[in-house]
Amino acid sequence: MIRPKIILVGAIISLFLIFCGVEVMSQEIKIGVAGPMAFIQGQHHWFGAEFAAEEINAKGGILVGGKRLPIKLIKIDTNEIINVPDAASAVERAITRDKVDFIIGGFRTEAVFAMQDVAMDYKKIFIGCGAAHPELCGRVAKDYNKYKYWFRVTPINSMFLAKVDFILLGMVGKFIGMELGIQKPKVAIFAEKAVWADPIVAAAKDNIPKMGMEVVGEWRPSATATDVTAELSAINASGAHIIFTTISGPLGIPYAKKWGELKIPAASVGINVEAQKKGFWEATGGLGNYDMTMNTYARVEITPMTIPFYDKFVAKVGEFPTYNAGTNDAIRILANAIEKAGTLDADKLVTELEKTDFYGAPGRIVFTKDHDVTWGPNFVTATGTQWQDGKLMCVWPVNWEGITYKGAVKYKIPPWVVEKWKKK
């Protein structure tokens, strides 16, 4: 009876070893891509990550301690646009059930705060590609040991977003002055009523007079408003030469459509997230022509990575990449750090990530001591883009701090604005 027992034990040990072997053979790096997957933001998170993972996997994967491990992407549908609390649960589920090694993505600030806490509790590296609030990185400064696993790749934080916003406004103001002879342009502030827009509006009221322009009024429609004809009629009556927009939601479409259709004689500049999308032209029936918005990407040579990534994204997704597609660079940065550290150990990877100096699609990515993406000339600058006859063209930076991106063009004042004010 001893023999069968030995055989049985041997079989169990063999099976165990085989399973262990299989486990080792199939070992992969699981990266959770967190975003609202029913919405464009989540879809761009996913596609950005997918492109990077496909390319890295085609080379055999990420080299960890002499062995190449493929990337496996795990979709984390955070549903954060509809219900913020869903986001934290989704991330926790991905960590505990799907056993993700890293997390990238996130969109709404309030949801990302909650996701960040969960990821930090589990000591998981989380690279943000969507929320702009400075405090997300401020937490790293305040409690480094807890929050050191957080890094932000896109977008630049909202303080710098506001800075770029005013640079773009100043640029349009200069064009109005030079081409129309208006030395003190009148500016109408048009901002959706949302928390993120409040500091920009407050800063605008303070800065615009210092920039040699005059504020003629402030319009704050609801972020979910669907018709702003009355607001635009009022702006028209105010005699504004420029409309300074701060819009992230669907409002951006009816706004631009009515602005173009009614030929409101004021140049539109600022933030209009909808105008960053390829579908904007179709959605406005071409009436959004000449609308100008701040952007993360543009089809210009910010770095040698920008145009290939941009073109690939447009070809495969049929959309222009939004800042959520920063997941593409997040994975590449992570892969570099893993290869340099030779391990998946989060603490060792943090040290490597802090040394990042990477030429990605939005610019040269170097992290600040608070793990935020560095803004400025020769780093990530953001871009100013304007719709010009069906094409979203980069119009800024052009001769800014010595920087002009190859492929950038001159800003155009809408012809009906020229027609209205040139005579006066």
Partner: protein, 289 residues
């Protein structure tokens, strides 16, 4: 500024009127509080987007197909999910909420959460007393006027209208007089949904097409019908223009508080209800019944 307020108020009020009259009609006739009313409006907007932008159909053809299809869907929904429980008003209300949510989720599944737009049938604008009014807005206003006029003709100048009004006044007596009240209710549902669909195809080029576009108009429609007096067509018309003008006034007089235009409208509704709990035309409506 007065010209601005007048013209913009008329446009706003007109679109609200189209939605509110349909909602009121089906409530008056069949006592159905159809929460899905504005969901039909959303479906119409998506259908016109699909037919005209995606499939490249001529916009007029796309409009006709969209209205016909949505009306058909509305009547099927009535037959399958409302008619069997019609006697239980609260159940109907809950079921129509569920129907609206199902429509929303289906749209989200098919089209995703993208914000879409439809091209205007007519582009450009005219100046009326110095106010720029787009041709599309003008067209909307004219169509709203004709649809409301047609509804009035149907209700007051046709046999069908007599049947609808009779059923609205007293369902049991209408039944005893030989009217097929179920069929009248179904036809009324068809008319109401058709009005919502017309609202959808008219608003689609003016606004954003997205899966949650039915929620804001629903709040406004509910406010309008309560303000005007539940089930009163006259009241709905009055309510729609009162709220349309209120919203416009807020935008022009308090630009900083433009986001409060909805809240102001609802406040007016509350004030009216405190003075006249039955709504503006509620008593007349009760007397009619």
């Amino acid at each position: 500024m007065i010209e601005n307020i007048l013209i913009n108020g008329l446009i706003h009020g007109g679109v609200y009127a189209l939605l509110a009259v349909g909602f009121s009609l089906i409530f008056g006739v069949a006592r159905i509080v159809n929460i899905a009313h504005t969901a039909f409006y959303m479906i119409a907007a998506y259908l016109i987007y699909t037919f005209s932008t995606r499939m490249g159909l001529h916009p007029l053809l796309a409009i006709l197909f969209s209205i016909a299809l949505v009306t058909g869907i509305g009547m099927v929904v009535y037959q399958l999910s409302i008619k069997p429980i019609q006697e239980h008003e609260i159940t109907v209300l809950i079921v129509t909420i569920a129907v609206a949510m199902v429509f929303q989720e289906i749209v989200l599944l098919i089209y995703g959460g993208h914000f879409r737009g439809n091209p205007s049938l007519l582009t450009g604008f005219i100046q009326i007393s110095g106010v720029r009014v787009s041709y599309q807005h003008l067209l909307t206003l004219i169509v709203v006027f004709f649809v409301l006029l047609l509804t009035w003709v149907i209700l007051f100048r046709t046999r069908l209208g007599i049947a609808i009004r009779a059923t609205a006044q007293d369902r049991e007596v209408a039944n005893l007089m030989g009217m097929n009240v179920n069929r009248v209710a179904m036809v009324t549902m068809g008319i109401a949904v058709m009005m919502a669909a017309i609202g959808g195809v008219l608003v689609a080029p003016l606004s954003v097409v997205e899966p949650y576009m039915w929620l804001h108009p629903l709040v406004m429609v509910l406010a309008i019908v309560v303000l005007g007096g539940l089930g009163s067509i006259k009241g709905s018309l009055a309510g729609a223009f009162i709220l349309g003008f209120t919203e416009t006034l807020v935008v022009f007089l308090i630009p900083l508080g433009a986001f409060l235009k909805g809240a102001f409208s609802l406040m007016i509704m509350i004030v009216v209800l405190l003075i006249r709990p039955e709504g503006l035309f509620g008593v007349a409506f009760e007397e009619e019944r």
